[in-house]
């Protein structure tokens, strides 16, 4: 789906009518294209976060890398999360467990390091005395949605039904943003959910968008 189409869909959803059918006088100007673009990108990142958190194999397949990281490779900038690991000895692969951050630290210099691969920041650790190579498959970030671009990291219905909808929701927080109205929303929500507005700290935009994302993804 092209970015132009997506921006148009969001604009229509926000009743900020697109430029293609109407005269300048009726053209929506409240939301600028670059604002919509930013919100679409935030929506895409939310979807990526949701997919990685959900561990849903079907959804995660959209993010699977094309080429794995092997020994001496530069750590990829679009790395998002580890998927599969193998260590090699004389060309024979052994499936490796991948541990991240603090979970990997206890094994780093250990004699029981074995087939484990550790990823800490941009460094990959493995037992170099036992294995002569490794291969790490990973989930990668989809390309950013750019103006005048074509997007195909996800299916069109995901761009239409999730990213555009969510982008429009996030964008909707532009409108009532005086501080008073913002607080009013928080207090109203706290009251509705039986929380004390004074001691409840929540992130209205995030919670609201997450709630919607969950609905859009069929409450998975």
């Amino acid at each position: 789906m092209t970015t132009t189409q997506m921006i148009d869909i969001v604009r229509r959803r926000m009743d900020d009518i697109g430029a293609d059918v109407l005269t300048d006088a009726r053209r929506g100007t409240f939301y600028r294209d670059d604002e919509i673009l930013l919100c679409l990108n935030m929506a895409q990142d939310m979807l990526v976060d949701y997919i990685l958190e959900s561990q849903d194999n079907h959804l995660m397949s959209f993010l699977m890398c094309k080429t794995p990281i092997v020994l001496n490779d530069t750590f990829p900038v679009n790395y998002a999360y580890a998927a599969e690991g193998y260590v090699y000895s004389g060309g024979i692969p052994y499936r490796a467990e991948i541990l991240l951050g603090a979970n990997a630290i206890p094994y780093l210099y250990d004699v029981v390091w074995n087939t484990t691969i550790g990823i800490i920041n941009d460094d990959i650790y493995y037992d170099g005395t036992a294995w002569d190579n490794y291969k790490v498959y990973y989930y990668e970030y989809p390309p950013a949605i750019i103006a005048a671009g074509d997007n195909y990291a996800f299916l069109d219905d995901m761009y239409l039904g999730v990213i555009c909808e969510l982008g429009a929701t996030i964008l909707g927080f532009k409108e009532p943003q005086t501080q008073r109205e913002f607080k009013n929303k928080m207090v109203a929500r706290a009251n509705r959910e039986g929380l004390n507005p004074d001691v409840t700290s929540f992130n209205t935009i995030l919670e609201y968008s997450k709630y919607l994302l969950k609905l859009l993804m069929g409450n998975k």
Binding site: L38, M46, L52
Partner: protein
């Protein structure tokens, strides 16, 4: 998200969007970003969310003096380590004793314990030695009382070498330049420390922090209502 996108996205949620910024100065936005980063990193550490923490890991090596039970986090001057990172949360430590198998070899993985428990080890140990460097703690002030961080070991009978893995404190997100929106000529220092899929959370939270700094009218009203014992009791009032 790029640095400029971060600022622009926050400005969408403040007043009228990023081409009509009028209420919040960049200094305030920077502080809100910083606060949002602290909060989110704190939560990630609590939840041990290694996906989110990946980019915040740093390593540093240090050693204690002979027969000392602590080692300073090296070159910890003005709260910044030699390589320019600030220490925030310890996440793991490998330790080896000098003269046992040499510096940085024959290493033991040490378990983090709270500082008060280190004092318990210190006081209850029998004949000078308990466990071999298997526990450590980190304080946020130097032994000397100056600003800095020290690593304490349970076995002070020899020189300890340590490799500390820690979560860095995010460097301050600084915007400089004058003007408004697209006409700004802005320069940015330091990007967000978290991975890309967490950036929107920082943006939302920072915007919320700023929007919460209000003129307090809701709080005033809440206090008044609560003092009358009437909060959330409007339905009951109707039934009287």
């Amino acid at each position: 998200m790029t640095k400029q996108e971060i600022i622009s996205a926050i400005e969408i949620f403040l007043d009228e969007g990023f081409y009509d910024r009028e209420w919040f100065e960049y200094g305030e936005i920077e502080r809100a970003i910083q606060e949002a980063q602290y909060r989110i990193i704190g939560e990630l550490v609590k939840k041990s969310d290694e996906r989110g923490l990946r980019t915040s890991y740093k390593t540093i090596q240090t050693k204690s003096a002979d027969a000392q039970d602590y080692a300073p986090v090296p070159d910890y001057v003005g709260s910044t380590t030699a390589d320019g990172y600030q220490f925030m949360y310890p996440r793991g430590l490998w330790v080896s004793g000098d003269g046992i198998s040499g510096a940085y070899s024959g290493m033991y993985n040490a378990t983090y314990i709270d500082t008060n428990q280190i004092w318990q080890h210190d006081n209850y140990k029998v004949s000078g030695q308990q466990t071999l460097g298997a526990y450590y703690t980190v304080t946020h002030t130097h032994q000397s009382g100056l600003e800095g961080a020290d690593i304490y070991f349970t076995d002070p009978s020899h020189k300890n070498y340590a490799t500390l893995f820690y979560i860095e404190k995010p460097k301050e997100f600084i915007v400089s330049g004058v003007g408004s929106g697209a006409l700004d000529v802005l320069t940015y220092t330091n990007n967000l420390v978290l991975p890309r899929e967490y950036h929107h959370k920082i943006v939302f939270l920072a915007a919320e922090i700023l929007n919460n700094r209000d003129v307090m009218e809701y709080e005033r009203a809440n206090i008044a209502v609560r003092e009358m014992g009437m909060i959330n009791k409007f339905e009951e009032m109707g039934n009287d």
